[in-house]
């Protein structure tokens, strides 16, 4: 009895260890991370540039959100630890300083997006985004936590290994040194060998995103309207940014019920079934429909787009290579064959 118990725990620990190592440390390609870098960078740049017209209105010397106000809002009487987080934007005393700092931040985000000095600019881009968030934390909503989550993990992986200026510079250098065929040297799908850091970064995004899905659905299920099917009706009436007027749906209560339950079912099942390789394409396809419909319904376009971008972390590097090759007008079959080889 004791022997069998010991064997059981030995097997359990051994297999758990193997599973853990396989999950986190199997080297993988970085094409998915590269695509994530580009799309996340574009999203960060969009948010950054749209703040420019209101920058002085919010953060200027006579702005709506002086540093002292943010400090007051951040003070937690129940905690001895100050919750206020430093932002370099607090050092800007004049409007010109503020705009200059913002412009430098935009340059950093552009460099991150195009993959120039990727290792450094991924860190700097994260600092830029976090500094903006902490300076005006009361201006933040749903998109910022998803954006910073993805950017944070992108710092860990080789995001500049593909589709980047860094990669182009390396190829150009190699071309000069070895005098190789130009067409062969500029193949987008050829990149460095799979790495452990790419796997860790990808897995962290996946795990964190699945946990966020769980939080989303649990926070919904805490409210009765998501159980009795009324939530979509409320959203049609209370979303000031809704892209289309769906208040007429009130005449079709079954449609409202079905839409409400579909949202809950999708978020509930995504975190579970996305880990099953066979179900993953289906979940990702449903995710596209669901997030686009939510964008129409709620008007939370940046958030819904960012969720779609983050979902790309579940696309394998091989599939992403094929997709990139297809986009770059190469045959997907040949790209798949090359990636398999």
């Amino acid at each position: 009895m004791i022997e069998s118990t010991r064997n059981y725990f030995d097997t359990l620990t051994r297999r758990s260890g193997e599973g853990w190592n396989r999950f986190w440390f199997t080297p993988s390609g970085a094409m998915s991370l590269a695509v994530l870098r580009i799309l996340t960078g574009l999203m960060a740049l969009w948010l950054h540039l749209t703040l420019l017209p209101d920058l002085v209105t919010y953060f200027g010397p006579e702005g709506m959100l002086p540093v002292e106000t943010i400090r007051q809002l951040s003070s937690d009487p129940q905690s001895s630890t100050p919750r206020y987080v430093f932002s370099y934007l607090t050092l800007c005393r004049t409007s010109d300083d503020l705009q200059a700092a913002h412009a430098i931040g935009a340059v950093v985000l552009v460099m991150f997006t195009v993959g120039l000095f990727s290792r450094l600019t991924s860190l700097l881009a994260l600092v830029v985004v976090l500094a903006t968030i902490h300076r005006g934390v009361v201006l933040t909503a749903e998109v910022e936590p998803i954006l910073t989550m993805v950017m944070c993990y992108l710092c860990l992986g080789p995001t500049g290994a593909h589709l980047s200026v860094d990669r182009w510079l390396v190829r150009r250098k190699l071309l000069k040194e070895k005098n190789e065929d130009h067409a062969a040297a500029t193949r987008p799908e050829e990149g460095p060998a799979p790495t452990m850091s790419a796997q860790v970064a990808t897995r962290l995004i996946q795990v964190h995103l699945a946990a966020i899905y769980a939080v989303m659905v649990l926070s919904k299920l805490a409210n009765e309207a998501w159980w009795d099917g009324e939530a979509v009706y409320w959203l049609t009436h209370t979303s000031p940014s809704a892209l289309i007027d769906l208040t007429w749906l009130y005449a079709y209560p079954k449609t409202i019920d079905a839409w409400t339950h579909a949202i809950v079912l999708f978020e509930l099942s995504f975190g579970l079934f996305v880990w099953i390789p066979l179900a993953r394409p289906l979940m990702l396809s449903v995710a596209v429909v669901m997030w686009l419909s939510l964008a129409l319904l709620t008007g939370l376009v940046p958030f819904c787009l960012m969720m779609l971008v983050a979902n790309l972390a579940f696309v394998s590097p091989q599939a992403m290579q094929a997709a990139v090759a297809m986009v770059l007008r190469r045959g997907p079959a040949s790209a798949m064959a090359e990636s398999r080889a």
Partner: protein
């Protein structure tokens, strides 16, 4: 200890590249476990944190706060991952700032009606949502109102302003019991509990300023002072907007 070392030292099943050393994997594994624990605490505290979760959040705040791991930023963000809670808090808040100058009066309405969607509109909505949240308490109502009011007053170069914070009412559901949201264009508004304030910028020499319904108060120069007045129903519907 033996079991733990076994977990960390077992090699990946299909490692195609050069495998990392056991020591490196062990260190990374420990860091991953710690990070994921903090992520779990931060995310699970989103809805309604228990006292244990609050303590753990406070403990991990030096790591979680700078990285923005906490979804609601400690209640200072308008992150509505639940999308709706079927309460009046779902409604977009409207802020009407009436500035009184020597030459002319002006009225500013937030959010700017020209911005219907996108990051700029969402930022305004988040700010106003925070305003409404803080306006629920007398202790915190003045924090945002003074800074927003002061900014608008500085923009119009005036010394006095009245801020009214309001949002659409719930209407009674005629088909079922309970309440339902009225369409936004129904123009039935309610003023929030501490949502009506008068802000008066101090004169140069600490002149006492008499506020409506209150005793005289000294206001330091260059500072703003906010006092709540009794809530009154708004006369009429939505006003015309100048925007900011």
């Amino acid at each position: 200890m033996v079991k733990e070392s076994r977990i960390l030292k077992s090699r990946p099943a299909d490692d195609s590249g050069s495998p990392p050393s056991d020591a490196a994997r062990s260190v990374v594994s420990v860091l991953l476990v710690i990070h994921l624990l903090i992520v779990f605490v931060a995310l699970s505290s989103y809805v309604s944190p228990s006292s244990l979760q609050s303590r753990l959040l406070s403990l991990f705040s030096l790591y979680a706060e700078p990285l923005n791991l906490n979804l609601s930023s400690g209640g200072r963000s308008d992150a509505r991952f639940y999308l709706t809670r079927t309460t009046t808090q779902d409604f977009p808040v409207e802020l009407e700032i009436e500035v009184q100058g020597e030459t002319a009066d002006a009225k500013v309405v937030l959010p700017n009606p020209d911005r219907s969607w996108g990051p700029r509109a969402r930022r305004e909505q988040a700010l106003l949502s925070m305003y409404a949240r803080f306006a629920q308490s007398e202790e915190t109502a003045a924090i945002l109102s003074t800074s927003i009011g002061a900014a608008v007053m500085a923009q119009h170069e005036v010394q006095r302003a009245t801020i009214v914070c309001r949002r659409p009412k719930l209407r009674e559901n005629t088909q079922q019991s309970g309440f339902m949201p009225a369409p936004l264009h129904d123009e039935q508004f309610e003023i929030m509990q501490h949502g009506k304030l008068m802000i008066i910028l101090g004169e140069v020499n600490y002149n006492p300023i008499v506020l409506p319904g209150r005793e005289s108060q000294a206001v330091p120069a260059g500072k703003s002072n906010a006092e709540t007045t009794e809530s009154e129903p708004p006369a009429g519907s939505r006003s015309s907007s100048n925007g900011t």
